[in-house]
């Protein structure tokens, strides 16, 4: 009975170990390229992204998609991982080939069931990697910089090099057998050294360093092989011509042309990760495409729509955002009396205009109306509009403020000016910004715009026909 229990326990233990090994052998599919620089690494032998263009998108994609344990970028690269990385970069099809060379017995610590076996087998058969004097490959040992350099040089450019290493203060620390490889790597500028002039040849290689290094050597003829149907991409043309959803299949290559939709009167400006309404997103490139994760994803068309010919202002004087609703709400902060009267005037003038705009007070509004004494930095400023929060073209929160002392001074400068009128004009002007009207330069629209700084503030205290036309177009 005791023996049976022991046997069962052993079986369970073995199964557990197998499970762990199996899981650890699954190459991750997601590698966010943007995250690389956020991880610490011990020095700067390899600067990031410097040679991004050296590689075609396919090469990058392979490296990034297949990197082992990608979330642990600050960890060290093992010799097994280095072999896998190298094979993936040079001949990625090999890892899925059924004709893996038989190297059983060549290294005492590499077995066919190891996840790195195909990589080590191919790398060894190509002469890129060698074992140590004891017949071991030491696949789980951390690889040093000079070891990594050696296998890459053997694989990519084994020509002898006499490039001097005297520029590096620690050149004398390079292991003698690694010197020729290091010369070649430096001559090819795969290694540029730290700002302090160090090669750190015996430092262990971080994963992130390995990735960066791998970007530095050419990967001709790399193609991408993915497991079948790992990702479905839907192209949302948002009103343009429909584009067939495109599935990435085994053997397909990222370099496939992305489908371009058409839309009458608009120009296609590329694909984006968002529709731009709630977040700007980023343009979809081949590398975004590959590194953006797994599962279904939708990319959105970006369109350029020429400003309509019937739009007022020739497209020059609208704000980039206008309030999300034609029913504008305001919360009045700490003022009553004459200054409130002037704001009431401005709100009434907007409400009575030939526009859908209404302005009302609510205690819960996020939009604030307040007064200040002066904008001390510039006495000629009578009011301010602050855009506080927005998304896309939608304004969600704003502040309007008028400066009472400057308004008093401005009104006093001409006998015909009434303080209440001037203040109402400034309030109405700032509300105009909230509903999408930008400033009109002096002289551009005559005197008949609320948004002109040079307007007669005593007379113009609400939206003029010119302004109303603009607002109506925005809230059409």
């Amino acid at each position: 009975m005791q023996n049976t229990t022991k046997t069962t326990t052993r079986k369970l233990l073995v199964m557990f170990l197998c499970l762990v090994l199996t899981i650890s052998a699954i190459p991750p599919l997601h590698f966010p390229a943007q995250a690389i620089s956020e991880y610490p690494h011990d020095d700067y032998v390899f600067s990031f992204y410097e040679d991004w263009d050296m590689f075609d998108a396919n090469g990058l994609a392979v490296l990034e998609a297949q990197m082992i344990e990608p979330l642990n970028l600050s960890g060290y690269t093992t010799r097994g991982e280095a072999a896998a990385l190298l094979v993936l970069a040079r001949e990625p099809g090999l890892l899925t080939s059924p004709n893996t060379p038989n190297i059983v017995g060549r290294f005492s610590d590499v077995r066919p069931q190891d996840w790195f076996y195909p990589a080590v087998a191919w790398a060894a058969s190509r002469g890129w990697v060698q074992g140590d004097d004891l017949g071991r490959f030491r696949p789980n040992d951390r690889i040093t910089r000079e070891e990594f350099v050696a296998i890459v040089v053997r694989a990519v450019d084994p020509r002898p090099s006499n490039w001097p290493l005297t520029a590096f203060r620690d050149a004398n620390q390079i292991t003698p057998w690694a010197i020729p490889y290091m010369r070649r790597a430096v001559e090819n500028r795969w290694i540029i050294g730290t700002p302090e002039g160090l090669l750190n040849p015996r430092h262990f290689f971080l994963r992130v360093d390995a990735l960066t290094f791998a970007r530095r050597f050419p990967t001709p003829g790399v193609t991408v092989n993915f497991p079948t149907n790992i990702r479905t991409i839907t192209w949302n043309a948002s009103g343009g011509s429909s584009v067939t959803a495109w599935q990435r299949l085994a053997g397909s290559v990222i370099g496939n042309p992305m489908p371009n939709p058409t839309w009458s009167g608009r120009t296609f400006r590329g694909w984006n990760t968002t529709d731009g309404r709630t977040a700007r997103g980023v343009a979809v490139t081949a590398s975004t495409f590959i590194s953006s994760g797994t599962g279904a994803v939708t990319y959105f068309a970006r369109w350029h729509e020429p400003y309509p010919s019937d739009a007022p202002h020739n497209g020059r004087r609208h704000m980039r955002q206008w309030y999300r609703s034609s029913a504008v709400t305001l919360r009045r902060v700490y003022f009553e009396g004459a200054w409130r009267d002037s704001l009431d005037d401005a709100m009434r003038n907007w409400g009575n205009s030939a526009t859908p705009i209404t302005v009302s007070f609510t205690a819960t509004s996020n939009n604030i109306a307040q007064i200040g004494n002066r904008y001390i930095n510039d006495p000629a400023v009578l009011g301010h509009f602050e855009r506080q929060a927005y998304s896309g073209t939608t304004l969600n929160r704003f502040i309007i403020r008028i400066y009472t002392m400057s308004i008093l001074n401005h009104a006093e400068a001409r006998p015909e000016r009434q303080v209440r009128n001037v203040a109402a004009s400034v309030w109405a002007h700032e509300i105009g910004h909230a509903v999408g009207l930008a400033d009109n330069p002096s002289g551009a629209t005559g005197n008949n715009s609320l948004m002109r700084s040079g307007r007669d503030r005593n007379a113009i205290r609400g939206p003029q026909p010119f302004d109303q036309q603009s607002v109506n177009w925005l809230y059409r």
Partner: protein
């Protein structure tokens, strides 16, 4: 019963700690999280606040000078300067009202409570060296600071439509303003669109140039004209007479 008493004591202690924490921690006015809610931003996300000013457009240089002078609280300087360098800082210009020295200058209409509504924003500071003085108490060679609302600090960017673009090395004539009670206060540019002009590229001093030479406005929409002759008259006090 003893347990209940213990629980009440613990609860009371927690309440006291909570109250003490909320009442004794003053809001840091320069912390952008307190002002703009930037704590919700992603690391690489930039919050862009835009500010539009409704500014007086003066009909003449004379009106501009007069407007500032009648306010009774502003110093005015008309100077030719070279822009030396720039930096960006959190700044709240309304703090100058809190100086005790300000009291004699403030009218009865000035409401101190309103100054508290202003807050810190990104401001760009330019150090300038005075080359020639046409109006004001400064001297050639003095180094002053001009500040304008706008600029980016960390992930808060403020765009102001009244920002006058100044570049290091620029040779400009500026109409500057600052509160009378603080001699070393950073200067503002009056009515940003009409108060910055490029000194003629031919250089030299004012007297070496023809009186009818007009200075190019930094702001192309500025309709005012400022000539070398105007500057001479400002300098000798005959302008506008």
């Amino acid at each position: 019963m003893r347990k209940l008493l213990f629980a009440i004591v613990i609860f009371a202690l927690f309440s006291l700690v909570a109250c003490a924490d909320s009442s004794s921690t003053p809001m840091d006015p320069v912390n952008p999280d307190n002002i703009f809610g930037t704590e919700d931003l992603a690391e690489d996300e930039v919050l862009t606040i835009s500010v539009h000013a409704d500014e007086i457009v003066f009909d003449s240089i004379e009106e501009m000078l007069h407007f500032v002078e009648i306010s009774g609280i502003f110093r005015i300087e008309v100077v030719r300067v070279e822009i030396l360098d720039e930096r960006t800082e959190w700044h709240n210009p309304a703090l100058v009202f809190q100086h005790e020295e300000a009291l004699p200058y403030l009218s009865s209409y000035h409401d101190p409570a309103l100054d508290d509504l202003e807050n810190f924003k990104p401001y760009t500071f330019h150090r300038i060296q005075v080359l020639e003085v046409f109006k004001g108490e400064v001297e050639a060679g003095d180094i002053l600071e001009v500040t304008q609302m706008g600029g980016q600090i960390d992930n808060v960017r403020l765009e102001s439509t009244s920002f006058v673009p100044l570049s290091v090395g620029d040779d400009l004539v500026l109409f500057l303003t600052s509160p009378l009670w603080i001699p070393a206060s950073p200067r503002g540019i009056i009515g940003s669109t009409q108060a910055a002009y490029r000194f003629p590229a031919s250089g030299g001093e004012l007297m070496a140039l023809s009186a009818d030479v007009a200075l190019e406005s930094v702001n192309p929409t500025n309709e005012l004209t400022l000539t070398i002759g105007d500057l001479r008259q400002i300098a000798d006090g005959t302008f506008g007479r």
